[in-house]
C-alpha cells in the first residue's frame, strides 16, 4: 500500500477564491453567511453564503487567458466556472498535469447544473447539460484529463466519498495522482426543497448550540490534489490514512437515533489508520445545526470514545455547501493541521447536544497530528476520513 499525500488545494466560497483567503477569513472569525434578498432564489430574505458573481466572472476570464482558451465565458454555467477556477487554482503551482494517464479526476456534486431546469434558464444551454456526466465532461475537456471523470453524487457526503475513492485508488497504485473537486451552486430548486422540510434557520446557523434551529445553505467549490509521489512535495505533507462510509438503514431523511452507524465509520477509519482516540487532534464534523443531526453526531462521538477530542463545524461560516462541503471542509482541516490551529465553531455558545462533546469556542493554536473529518446526509449515509501530519 502506498502513502497518499495532499499536494495542493483550493477553496471558492463567499469568503474568497483561494485557500489562503478562506483560511485568513476563518482565522479572523469572518462569517460568510449574509441575509440575501434575491427573488430568483427565494421570495423572502434568507441567510445564505453566496460566491461573488463579479469576482467569479473576472477570475474566470483570467483562467481562460492563462490556459490559452478562446471559449466564450457564456458557454460555461456558473457551477462549471466554479470547478474550472478551483481546479486551475489548485493545479497551477504543481508539477501534476491533467493529461497524464496517471492522473485520476474525481468530481463531486449533488445537483450539478440543476438551475437549467428553471423556465428562465431554458434554452441557454443544451438540455443535456443537466446530466451530471455532461457537466463533468465539460470540465474534463477544459483541462484535457486523460481519463473520464469519476463522478460521485452521494448527497451531503459526496465530497468525502470522492476523497475516499481517490485515496483508495492511489493507495493500491491504480493511479499516481488525483484531482478531487467538489461543488454546488445555490438555486431555487435546492432552497425551496430545504424550505419545504422546514429545516432552514432564519438566522445564520448555530451548530451544536442549544438554540440551533436549522441549517443555512451556501455555495462553493473546493479541490484537493492527491499524490503518492512524495518527491513532488516540500516539507512535511499531510496524508490520508484511513476512511470509511456507512449507512443508518433507518430513515431516508432523518439521522440515526443512536449514532451507531456514523460511529462505525469513524471507528473503521481510525482502525485503518491504526489510531486510537487519544491520537486524534480534532474532529471536523458535519454539524448542520439541525436539532437531530447535531444530536446524532454527539451520540456518535460518545460511542466512538472521542468525547475528549475538540470538535468544530464550519457550517456557521459558510453554511452547508452540499457537494462542495466535504472537499472544502477537508481543505480547511488539512491547513488547520499544518497551522496547528483549532478553529472556533462559529455560532456555538451554549451546549445543546445530549453528550458533552468539546465544541471549540475560541480559535487557538495547539500541537496536534491528526484530524478526523466526518459527514452525514440524506439517504442515511455517513462518512469519515482521517488526515495525518507526516512527522518531518
Amino acid at each position: 500500500m502506498k502513502e497518499v499525500y495532499i499536494a495542493g488545494d483550493n477553496i471558492i466560497s463567499s469568503l474568497g477564491f483561494t485557500t489562503t483567503a478562506n483560511m485568513d477569513a476563518l482565522r479572523s472569525g469572518q462569517i460568510g453567511l449574509n441575509l440575501v434578498t434575491d427573488p430568483t432564489l427565494f421570495p423572502s430574505p434568507l441567510p445564505l453564503s453566496l460566491v461573488d458573481t463579479g469576482v467569479l466572472e473576472e477570475q474566470f476570464r483570467e483562467v481562460l487567458t492563462l490556459r490559452g482558451k478562446t471559449d466564450s465565458p457564456q458557454s460555461f454555467t456558473r457551477l462549471e466556472k466554479f470547478f474550472i477556477i478551483s481546479i486551475h487554482s489548485a493545479l497551477a503551482p504543481l508539477p501534476i498535469v491533467p493529461e497524464d494517464t496517471g492522473t485520476l479526476f474525481v468530481l463531486s456534486t449533488t445537483k450539478g447544473n440543476i438551475e437549467l431546469l428553471e423556465v428562465r434558464n431554458k434554452n441557454q444551454f443544451d438540455s443535456r447539460r443537466v446530466f451530471l456526466w455532461e457537466m463533468a465532461h465539460v470540465v474534463r475537456d477544459f483541462f484535457g484529463f486523460a481519463h473520464p471523470p469519476l463522478i460521485v453524487s452521494n448527497a451531503c457526503i459526496s465530497g468525502i466519498v470522492a476523497l475516499v475513492v481517490a485515496f483508495r485508488y492511489l493507495r493500491t497504485g491504480m493511479y499516481e495522482h488525483a484531482v478531487v473537486s467538489g461543488g454546488d451552486i445555490l438555486s431555487e430548486f435546492v432552497i425551496s426543497g430545504f424550505q419545504s422540510f422546514q429545516s432552514l434557520s432564519p438566522t445564520p446557523c448555530r451548530p451544536y448550540d442549544a438554540g440551533r434551529d436549522g441549517l443555512s445553505l451556501g455555495e462553493g467549490a473546493g479541490t484537493m490534489v492527491l499524490t503518492t509521489d512524495r518527491r513532488l512535495l516540500k516539507g512535511a505533507p499531510v496524508r490520508i490514512t484511513g476512511a470509511a462510509t456507512s449507512n443508518d438503514a433507518n430513515h431516508i431523511s432523518g439521522p440515526s437515533r443512536t449514532g451507531e452507524e456514523l460511529s462505525l465509520a469513524m471507528l473503521e477509519a481510525m482502525k485503518e489508520a491504526a489510531l486510537s482516540p487519544a491520537d486524534i487532534g480534532f474532529i471536523n464534523a458535519h454539524g448542520t445545526a439541525t436539532p437531530f443531526n447535531d444530536e446524532m453526531e454527539s451520540k456518535s462521538i460518545a460511542l466512538a470514545g472521542l468525547l475528549d477530542v475538540p470538535v468544530n463545524s464550519l457550517k456557521g461560516y459558510w453554511g452547508h455547501t452540499l457537494g462542495a462541503a466535504g472537499v472544502i471542509e477537508s481543505v480547511v482541516a488539512v491547513h488547520a493541521l499544518e497551522d496547528q490551529l483549532l478553529i472556533r465553531s462559529a455560532g456555538f455558545e451554549t451546549p445543546g447536544v445530549p453528550h458533552p462533546i468539546r465544541v471549540i469556542s475560541e480559535t487557538v493554536e495547539q500541537p496536534m497530528n491528526s484530524c478526523l473529518k466526518t459527514a452525514s446526509g440524506f439517504g442515511g449515509c455517513n462518512a469519515a476520513i482521517l488526515f495525518e501530519r507526516t512527522i518531518p
Binding site: 475513492v165 425551496s192 426543497g193 419545504s196 449507512n247 431516508i252 462505525l264 473503521e268 440524506f378
Partner: protein, 215 residues
C-alpha cells in the same frame, strides 16, 4: 482473494429476471408505474413504504429484493455488506417533478416527500432500510453503463477489507425508460452449502458486461 457474483437480477424492456431466469414479463405497459405495480403486488411483501418511493427507488428496491430472495442476509455481518450503485440520469426523473412544483409562483407547493428523492443515493437508503445493510455505500454517475467503474470501486472495497459482500450495479430511470442490473458479490470461498440458491460467476468487468448485454 477472488470474488464471485452469487446472485443477480435484471430488469429491462419488458422482463424481470433473477439469476438468469425470467420471473415476470409484461409487454403491455406505457409507464414504469404500470409495469412495476402488478409485480410488486405479486411479490406480496407487505411493504407499503414502497408506494411512497419515487420511480427510481422503486426500480432499485425491486431489483434488490429479488437478489435477497436468493441470499440469506442473516448469515452476513450487515455492517460489512456494502452497496455501490451507478446510473446516468441521477435523480433527474424526480428533479423534474420537484421543479414543476416551484415553476409557478401562484401554484408553489414544494413537497418534502418529493424533494427527498431528488438525490440518487436515496435509493441506496431505501435498500439499506429494507435489508438493514449498514456497510460502505457509494453512488456514481456515468454516461453509459460502465462495468469498469463499478468493478474498480467494488474491487477496492474488497482489497481494503472494507466489506464482506457488496451489492452493486446499474439502476437508471428517466421518463419511462428504465433498466437495472444488480449483482451480489462476495469472496469466492464463501461456504455455499447453506445457500443453494446462489450461482457462482467470477466477478470481473467482462462478466458484468455480459450480464448487462443479456439483461
Amino acid at each position: 482473494m477472488s470474488q464471485s457474483i452469487t446472485a443477480y437480477s435484471q430488469i429491462r424492456s419488458s422482463c424481470i429476471k433473477v439469476n438468469g431466469s425470467i420471473e415476470y414479463c409484461d409487454e403491455n405497459f406505457i409507464t414504469f408505474a404500470e409495469f412495476i405495480k402488478p409485480f410488486f403486488k405479486h411479490l406480496n411483501l407487505g411493504y407499503p413504504k414502497f408506494y411512497k418511493m419515487d420511480p427510481l427507488s422503486k426500480l432499485g428496491f425491486i431489483a434488490a429484493e429479488l437478489v435477497f430472495r436468493k441470499i440469506n442476509i442473516a448469515l452476513y455481518d450487515r455492517n460489512r455488506v456494502g452497496i455501490v450503485l451507478a446510473n446516468a440520469s441521477s435523480s433527474l426523473d424526480t428533479d423534474l417533478a420537484h421543479q414543476r412544483t416551484i415553476d409557478n409562483r401562484s401554484q408553489y407547493f414544494p413537497s418534502p416527500s418529493v424533494f427527498v428523492y431528488t438525490l440518487p443515493n436515496i435509493m441506496i437508503g431505501e435498500i439499506c432500510i429494507r435489508h438493514q445493510l449498514k456497510g460502505e455505500n457509494g453512488f456514481l454517475i456515468s454516461e453509459k453503463f460502465d462495468s469498469l467503474l463499478l468493478f474498480n470501486y467494488v474491487n477496492e472495497l474488497f482489497q481494503h477489507h472494507r466489506v464482506d459482500a457488496c451489492l452493486t450495479g446499474w439502476v437508471d430511470l428517466l421518463q419511462e425508460r428504465f433498466e437495472a442490473l444488480l449483482l451480489f458479490v462476495e469472496p469466492t470461498t464463501k461456504a455455499p452449502a447453506e445457500e443453494p440458491l446462489k450461482v457462482s460467476i467470477p466477478f470481473s468487468a467482462e462478466a458484468m458486461d455480459t450480464l448487462y448485454k443479456i439483461t
